[in-house]
């Protein structure tokens, strides 16, 4: 979390103030700006605007005249229809449940684990840290099947988590990336504070609750955004462990109905499913972009 290289910095980059005073440079920059913004609007924003248009069109219009603006009028009815007829409401609720659980357990594991590794530092902390780190290097494909087998019959306890949200929540909480992010943040906090609290007689839990947590707001924010958006995007894993349609999140539900649902209702459902992540992103854009850049810093 240290040395944030932010995209809002005003320091010089390649092109200097002196360069900017030259006419040819100014014109080139202006042209580049217009080209870049226009290209991004068409390529990145365009498909989403089209989705919005399609969500409020008739199937006929979507299929026959993809470029026309509502030749048969705006179909607001698509949204409630998708909500009830192809069960988008149910999927949305499931997605929210999945995201809420992934968020809670992800934070719980990352904060307590990061606290243990970076602040408490018992003798075995090194070993735990190494074992957590090791999972980052092993491609996810290794454990796809064995993770499924584990969830089907959890060793020692002998329960079957398939068709429960636990099957999504718990594996997603085992995120080495989040643990390391939090541990790194705690490493940067002043140690004297914890030592002082310890000397004053505060126990392990009290230090965590009254000192660590209030100081961790920035990292809690980053981990929250990362886990919520990641859980919203998950597809293969919920497809495997939530075979029951009543529990499936939007990604899985939309995939399952994609071939049979009327096109206009499918588009309306897809639109509903992007609204929440897009709004979250637009509201917290700085935090999102910062943590995305940081992901690179951690990887690098």
């Amino acid at each position: 979390m240290t040395a944030l290289s932010t995209i809002d910095s005003d320091e010089r980059s390649n092109v200097s103030t002196l360069d900017r005073s030259r006419r040819s440079v100014r014109i080139t920059m202006r042209v580049l700006t217009v080209l870049l913004v226009a290209a991004l609007c068409v390529v990145a924003l365009g498909p989403l605007l089209w989705l919005f248009k399609a969500a409020l069109s008739t199937s006929q219009d979507i299929l026959r005249e993809p470029f026309a603006w509502w030749p048969s009028g705006v179909q607001w009815q698509n949204l409630p229809d998708a909500w009830s007829q192809i069960h988008v409401g149910q999927y949305l609720l499931n997605t929210v449940w999945v995201a809420a659980g992934c968020w809670f357990f992800g934070l719980l594991v990352a904060l307590t684990g990061g606290y243990g590794i970076a602040v408490l530092r018992p003798r075995y902390a090194r070993l735990v840290n190494g074992a957590v780190l090791a999972t980052l290097f092993i491609p996810g494909v290794v454990s796809l099947i064995s993770l499924y087998v584990t969830v089907l019959d959890v060793p020692l306890i002998g329960v079957n988590l398939v068709n429960t949200f636990w099957a999504v929540w718990l594996p997603s909480a085992a995120s080495a990336f989040n643990v390391l992010l939090v541990a790194r943040f705690f490493d940067g906090l002043p140690r004297d504070v914890f030592e002082a609290a310890r000397i004053d007689g505060a126990g392990v839990f009290r230090v965590f609750w009254s000192i660590i947590l209030p100081m961790s707001r920035p990292v809690i924010g980053v981990v929250s955004l990362l886990t919520i958006v990641a859980s919203w995007k998950e597809f293969l894993w919920p497809l495997l462990v939530l075979p029951s349609a009543d529990l499936q999140p939007l990604s899985v539900g939309l995939y399952r109905v994609a071939d049979t649902a009327p096109t206009n209702l499918l588009m309306a459902g897809m639109f509903i499913s992007v609204v929440i992540p897009v709004v979250l992103f637009l509201v917290f854009q700085r935090q999102f972009l910062r943590s995305a850049g940081q992901a690179g810093a951690v990887k690098g």
Partner: protein, 332 residues
């Protein structure tokens, strides 16, 4: 599987090296024999050892069950034949032999490699170029970053289904009606065997380029400004500075992103699975789809695990060779 199946793995380097564990626990009191296990245990408990262990429990339990155990379990499953109903039997290397004997394996390997190569050619230089330009356009940097990152926020299934709609093969499909306007015949984007993978690559580049762009942009913003100052004093033009300062400074990130992208694209699943389901004529079946098919269509979990281990070992070798090669290259 979770998101990390596609993006996976981060190489070593920058994680916090754990400082050596410090002894906070007070030593056993005088009078008690210091060496005895009972005394050691007592001092561990007095020093808050139990509380510390409780703090580690959530991590140990979730990682134990859902990260560490499955890795070990893979090594067991790959040598067993099991359909999860009858008792598993040890079969030695037969799972691996059966995987290698499957003619579809080589098709899937070819498709996956072709996907990875195309994704590299189409999708790799683009974010670098975008980031270099975005870094200079200060006033629009925030808005261009937001726009570039927007597709990354869209859930992959929605993004794939949306593009599938764009690729509608009929003459009135979105892309096809654009072609028609230009006087070109409509194309079966996902139906033509030779076009299916490139079409999927375009969609997946659209969906993922934003991440790389933001990472490059962050790296660009941390280049020391003195380097530009010095080059400017020496009379280097803007393009010369881009070539001789910016790109060399980005080299570490670029090399790393290249490896990460390769590891990610070799495990591609969701895009072809949702877009084409492996068709036409198996031209979009990927390695991970084969793992899925073995396990969840044929119920052959041993064979599926064997293939996933092979893929993982292949990726490990690829990374090792790549890191060695690039190290030599950056030394010379």
């Amino acid at each position: 599987m979770r998101e990390n199946i596609v993006t996976v793995t981060a190489p070593p380097a920058a994680d916090a090296p754990p400082t050596p564990p410090r002894e906070v626990a007070p030593r056993g009191r005088a009078g008690r024999r210091p060496g005895s296990p009972a005394a050691a245990l007592l001092s561990w408990v007095r020093g808050g050892g139990v509380g510390t262990l409780v703090m580690f429990l959530p991590l140990l339990l979730t990682f134990g069950y859902f990260a560490w155990w499955p890795i070990a379990k893979s090594l067991i499953l790959a040598f067993q034949r099991t359909d999860l109903i009858t008792e598993p039997t040890w079969v030695g290397l037969s799972n691996f032999e059966r995987v290698l004997a499957d003619p579809l394996l080589w098709t899937a390997l070819g498709n996956t490699a072709w996907f990875a190569v195309l994704a590299l050619v189409i999708g790799f230089p683009l974010p670098i170029l975008m980031a270099v330009v975005m870094a200079e356009l200060r006033r629009t940097r925030q808005i261009t970053s937001v726009l570039a990152y927007l597709p990354v926020i869209i859930p992959p299934v929605v993004s794939v289904l949306l593009w599938k709609q764009f690729y509608e093969p009929s003459g009135t499909g979105l892309f096809n009606s654009a072609l028609t306007a230009l006087g070109i015949e409509p194309v079966g984007w996902l139906q033509e065997p030779a076009l299916a993978i490139p079409s999927i690559v375009i969609q997946s580049t659209w969906a993922s380029a934003g991440t790389a762009t933001i990472i490059y942009l962050a790296a660009l913003m941390s280049i020391r400004t003195e380097l530009y100052d010095a080059a400017e004093v020496d009379g280097a033009s803007i393009l010369q500075r881009t070539w001789h300062v910016t790109l060399p400074q980005l080299r570490g990130v670029i090399l790393l992103m290249l490896l990460l992208q390769l590891i990610g694209t070799m495990q591609v699943f969701t895009e072809p699975f949702v877009m084409t389901g492996g068709g036409p004529e198996n031209r979009t079946v990927t390695l991970l789809m084969l793992v899925y098919n073995y396990a969840f269509l044929s119920g052959d979990f041993g064979k599926a695990t064997a293939l996933s281990l092979l893929l993982a070992v292949g990726l490990g070798l690829l990374s090792a060779v790549y890191l060695r090669l690039t190290r030599k290259w950056s030394e010379s």
